[in-house]
């Protein structure tokens, strides 16, 4: 142990943390958050009764209820396991990571999560959702006395529909808000039903290619019915949803009026030479949950 490590007064997570994270995983995989349930089930009234779009939204509604009642995964693709964690300064994040990883292993064994971590060269599945890059942890420190954990499970079908545009673009326009809007709608067009629409978009304008995609995904931590505090971004969000829902792509790409449930946009500064629009496409099976946890590892409040 180095001298530096010895002098840090570390706060170690208690064993209750393991149970709290396991329960967070179970809830995330099996219970869609209320804001998403409201949006996806409420969309059915806009579709023609008996149409394929109506049938799709009806099945989606049934599926949400079945998964919740039977405590089984809403979707078999339990996706990339993304933890967004805020901890007090001095908290032992390495211990948190170890405990949360153990909880992922047990959640996989229990069938809350599918065996979803595959060696990219050999194709071998590790069988327990661990391995290089899995699960994913985004740690931040804050001045609060407790821990906040948000968990997102993002399926591969929608992840494959993510897109990144570099403006100017010959067909989509220049480095302005029109170019941004056209780029986002091109992503919707290309995705069609392949990302399990109705979809939700997280978008980042700016950043580099890496930070842009990461920040786009972070926009998906926002509530569906919130309003962007930046009126310029709020207006693009609204335009994108309106236009997408007039495109006729519809749920599952079957045709219909519900193509997007929401669009959430954030910005990062960019280099003078770069102008990226990064889009994270989320499926209707939008699994994100969270918890506030005390230093004893107990959940004090469930989020979402």
């Amino acid at each position: 142990m180095s001298a530096t490590a010895q002098t840090i007064d570390r706060i170690s997570p208690e064993t209750n943390l393991f149970e709290s994270i396991l329960e967070l995983i179970r809830r995330t995989s099996t219970q869609l958050p209320d804001d998403v349930v409201r949006a996806v089930t409420g969309a059915r009234k806009n579709e023609v009764e008996g149409s394929n779009a109506d049938v799709a939204l009806n099945v989606i509604g049934c599926n949400i209820g079945l998964a919740r009642d039977s405590s089984l995964p809403l979707c078999q693709d339990t996706g990339t396991i993304l933890f967004y964690v805020h901890t007090p300064a001095g908290y032992d994040q390495l211990a948190f990571e170890e405990i949360a990883t153990e909880a992922v292993r047990l959640a996989t064994k229990k069938g809350y999560l599918r065996q979803n971590s595959v060696d990219s060269i050999t194709g071998k599945n590790t069988g327990d959702n661990t391995g290089p890059g899995s699960p994913v942890f985004h740690f931040h420190q804050w001045r609060q006395p407790h821990i906040e954990v948000k968990l997102m499970l993002k399926g591969g079908g929608c992840e494959n529909m993510n897109a990144q545009y570099s403006l100017p673009h010959p067909d989509l326009g220049g480095r302005d808000l029109k170019g941004v809007e056209n780029a986002i709608l091109d992503c919707v067009l290309q995705a069609q039903g392949q990302g399990c629409g109705p979809g939700i978009l997280g978008v980042c304008i700016g950043g580099d290619r890496g930070s842009g995609y990461a920040y786009a995904k972070e926009q998906l931590l926002r509530l569906l019915d919130d309003t962007n505090p930046d009126p310029v971004l709020a207006e693009i969000e609204e335009h994108v949803v309106e236009k997408a829902n007039q495109s006729g792509i519809g749920p599952m790409g079957f045709g219909g009026k519900t193509t997007l449930l929401a669009c959430k946009i954030g910005t990062l500064n960019r280099l003078p030479a770069s102008f990226f629009v990064s889009i994270a496409y989320m499926c209707w099976a939008y699994r994100r949950r969270g918890a506030e946890i005390d230093l004893g590892g107990n959940v004090t409040e469930w989020l979402y």
Binding site: N52, V55, A56, V59, I60, C62, N63, L66, A67, S70, L72, P73, L74, C75, Q76, D77, T78, K110, G111, L113, R114, Q115, N116, V118, G123, K124, N125, G127, G155, G156, G157, N160, G173, L177, K178, G179, E181, N182, L185, D186, V188, L189, Q192, G193, Q194, C196, K243, Q246, S247, G248, I249, G250, M252, G253, F254, G255, C283, W284, A285
Partner: protein
């Protein structure tokens, strides 16, 4: 738009009578097969089961072993477009009568559906519990070395619902929705 009950294995004539927009319910054996299975067949390995008259389900289920028995915990469709390079060949060589998946497939598969007598059946993506409710038994598994989500699972299903979105007459809902949505979005461009 008809509601048609199918029992596997299925006759070619029945498959050729289906049209885009028809709803089907399937009873009988289904085999899962996705990326790694299609790639392995494409590179020359014969499938371990007789696929003639059957339907391949593009699906990587959540399976848990309880005692000696595999139990299916969740089993919705995966995105089919990734099998586009291989699917036509499997239709030609092994006489499958269709695939179930989500998101639709491209021109090669559409042409193969017409030539060899097959359809593309769309299940509801993400609806893993509704799909799993139709799976009554897991009868076996092959190619487990590919990992559980990629293996060939032998499922027994009753009244598994899907919508015909590509038929053996050259029609594709995906093609028509893409063309129409492109025209509409082009007209709304800033």
């Amino acid at each position: 738009m008809a509601l048609v009950k199918l029992t596997t294995p299925i006759d070619e004539a029945i498959i050729r009578s289906l049209h885009v927009g028809d709803t089907v319910t399937i009873t009988g054996r289904l085999y899962t097969g996705r990326d790694a299975v299609h790639h392995r067949i494409h590179t020359g390995t014969k499938p371990p089961v007789d696929l003639e008259g059957h339907i391949i389900y593009h699906c990587g289920p959540v399976m848990v072993k309880e005692g000696d028995q595999w139990v299916c915990k969740a089993a919705g469709p995966t995105t089919s477009s990734r099998e586009e390079p291989y699917q036509w060949e499997v239709m030609r060589d092994y006489r499958i009568r269709g695939v179930i998946g989500k998101g639709g497939m491209g021109e090669k598969t559409l042409a193969a559906c017409k030539e060899y007598g097959a359809v593309y059946l769309h299940a509801i993506g993400g609806a893993a519990q509704v799909c799993a409710a139709s799976i009554k038994r897991v009868d076996g598994v092959d190619w487990m070395d590919l990992g559980s989500p990629e293996a060939i699972w032998h499922l027994w299903v009753e009244d598994f619902m899907a919508i015909v979105t590509m038929d053996a007459h050259g029609q594709s809902l995906h093609k028509s929705v893409f063309e129409e949505s492109k025209a509409r979005l082009d007209a709304m461009k800033c």
